[in-house]
């Protein structure tokens, strides 16, 4: 039976309006709510549905980063994943390093399908799945909004700028989840209790043979230019004159 690997990143909750810290060295994270990156919840939901439909034997969730990501892995286990792997490092990570880490696990676990989110909402990189597929020399189906498994191949509908594209890819493969792929299930209390007993393996990045060598460096954080507050008009006539004044009509 197929094994599915899902990447879960711990990220600032999507409802939080993030602010740059006063030193310009990062963003404020003190006391800020952290969650599973929303796209990754969707990735996991899809993996669970494939398993429930009899297409997969095991769903493994993995997170790379600080030990606190345990919380997000526990949530993933409560959603229904069979086991979790936490790859720990205190070095800054790039999508390339995460992709190499996932590849090491793919090989160790003989994974046939990897589902990750299309992007993290902190770094907004949108790279990891594509990089993993390249390093693995396997197909990628990014921005997926529908997925059908058919023996050893996958039909994936992708959200592209022009509309919806359908690709047919051989397994093993990498899929990156877009928002409309599914709606993730809610975690119920008994599941949280059960998840405490599921295996969560911790392994150091270096023990997987991956070096976190630095490439592109982030040197400065700045707040975006803010837009100045505009005018309020009373009615449609006011709107038309305001537009006319700006030379837009």
């Amino acid at each position: 039976m197929k094994k599915i690997l899902v990447g879960l990143k711990r990220a600032v909750d999507y409802n939080i309006r993030v602010r740059v810290n006063s030193g310009g060295t990062g963003v404020e994270t003190d006391g800020v709510k952290m969650s599973i990156n929303p796209f990754d919840e969707i990735a996991l939901e899809e993996a669970l549905r494939l398993k429930e439909a009899g297409h997969a034997g095991e769903v493994i969730v993995v997170s790379v980063g600080a030990p606190e990501a345990q919380q997000q892995l526990r949530t993933g286990l409560a959603m229904g994943a069979d086991r979790a792997i936490l790859v720990t490092t205190s070095d800054p990570l790039s999508p390339r390093i995460v992709a190499k880490t996932l590849l090491a696990l793919v090989n160790r676990e003989s994974i046939e399908l990897v589902i990750v989110g299309k992007q993290t909402i902190d770094g907004d990189n949108n790279q990891t799945g594509q990089m993993l597929a390249a390093l693995w020399d396997r197909p990628q189906a990014t921005f997926a909004s529908k997925l059908e498994i058919d023996g050893d191949s996958l039909q994936v509908t992708r959200e592209v700028d022009a509309g919806l594209e359908v690709l047919d890819v051989d397994l093993p493969a990498v899929v990156t989840a877009d928002l409309r792929l599914n709606e993730p299930r809610y975690v119920k209390l008994p599941d949280i209790m059960k998840a405490k007993k599921k295996p969560l393996e911790e392994i150091a990045l270096s023990d997987l043979g991956v070096a976190a060598e630095a490439g592109v460096k982030t040197t400065k954080y700045a707040p975006p230019q803010s837009r100045s507050k505009g005018v309020m008009v009373d009615d449609v006539d006011g709107l038309v004159s305001a537009l006319t004044d700006k030379g837009l009509l």
Partner: protein
């Protein structure tokens, strides 16, 4: 001196304007020569269009039947085959470039810089993170190829028409994988302006309530000569197709005029319109966050205000 290769986006017939924005971005790097790579099937006119962009030094063409559709797994090795001759490889931050460029970067074993919005130096750029709530400065190692996607909303299109760069066929030997097959593209034909390049955009949100009601957005857009966009909620509800979504996970646009109708103004939506010239908001809730960024705000029921506005505009011409 920088040697920059830009991977062209096209549909086989027409070069996408995103490519001209990449040329503008590359032109901001001092002492750069700019080549455009067109991956295509035999006999396409796209190379000639790329040769007409001012600032382009040379157009390189790889003709292969595998390029009938832009499939990243097939195209990445072709880009990599030429990349060694360059200091930079750029692509647009569209779904085409986002799909392809990380695959190229990984094969070259370098990090990729996503969504370049400002060029500071040949190896130093600014890009947005956290849905645009922070702007970071990033530095790429001087001894590696810089692979980046260009945030098209941040750059003006380079002029296209007068230039005639030489067009050359590039002979490369690459193994193109057969594990990925293109099946279909479902695109809704529309004779309205293109959302990504339109000077004016009218977007509707959840408040429209149905696909039928969304008709008033199309009518207003027609009166303005505008493209139509939507919030994620409107797309999720099935009022309009996915390609109309504006925002963090949809299209990032920079029209001169953006009209947001019945859209609350979630950060994920706002990140898609930060560079718009004038933002107009029509919303019945005066507390809606969209009013914090709107240049002109109108608190009103859209079902009254929009038809009235459309009439007022139509009677002017």
């Amino acid at each position: 001196m920088s040697k920059i290769l830009i991977v062209a986006e096209h549909d086989g017939r027409q070069l996408n304007t995103a490519t001209t924005k990449c040329v503008s971005c590359a032109s901001e790097i001092a002492d750069a020569t700019i080549d455009v790579l067109v991956l295509t099937t035999a006999g396409s006119e796209v190379a000639a269009q790329a040769a007409a962009i001012s600032g382009v030094g040379r157009v390189r063409v790889i003709e292969d039947p595998a390029n009938e559709h832009a499939v990243a797994a097939m195209q990445a090795p072709q880009v990599v085959a030429l990349a060694g001759e360059y200091s930079h490889v750029f692509g647009p931050s569209t779904t085409f470039g986002k799909d392809l460029m990380p695959r190229v970067a990984a094969l070259l074993d370098v990090d990729q810089i996503s969504d370049v919005m400002t060029v500071i130096g040949s190896h130093e750029f600014e890009r947005p993170i956290y849905a645009g709530n922070a702007i970071v400065t990033v530095t790429a190692p001087a001894d590696q190829i810089v692979v980046a996607t260009v945030r098209t909303a941040s750059f003006q299109a380079a002029e296209q028409g007068n230039a005639v760069a030489p067009v050359e066929n590039a002979e490369v030997e690459v193994e193109i994988p057969d594990h990925t097959r293109f099946v279909a593209l479902h695109a809704e034909a529309s004779d309205r302006p293109d959302l990504q390049t339109a000077a004016r955009v009218v977007s509707g949100g959840r408040a429209l309530g149905s696909a039928e009601n969304f008709e008033i957005i199309y009518k207003l857009a027609d009166a303005l000569g505008a493209a139509v966009g939507a919030s994620r909620a409107a797309v999720d509800a099935g009022y309009v197709p996915n390609e109309l979504q504006v925002g963090q996970t949809g299209k990032i646009i920079a029209p001169a005029l953006y009209v947001a109708v019945g859209i609350s103004g979630a950060i994920q939506h706002l990140t898609g319109i930060k560079d718009a010239g004038t933002i107009v908001a029509i919303n019945k809730d005066e507390e809606a966050p969209i009013f914090e960024v709107a240049d002109i705000g109108l608190v009103a029921d859209l079902f009254q205000a929009v038809p009235e506005l459309e009439k007022a505009l139509s009677s002017r011409t």
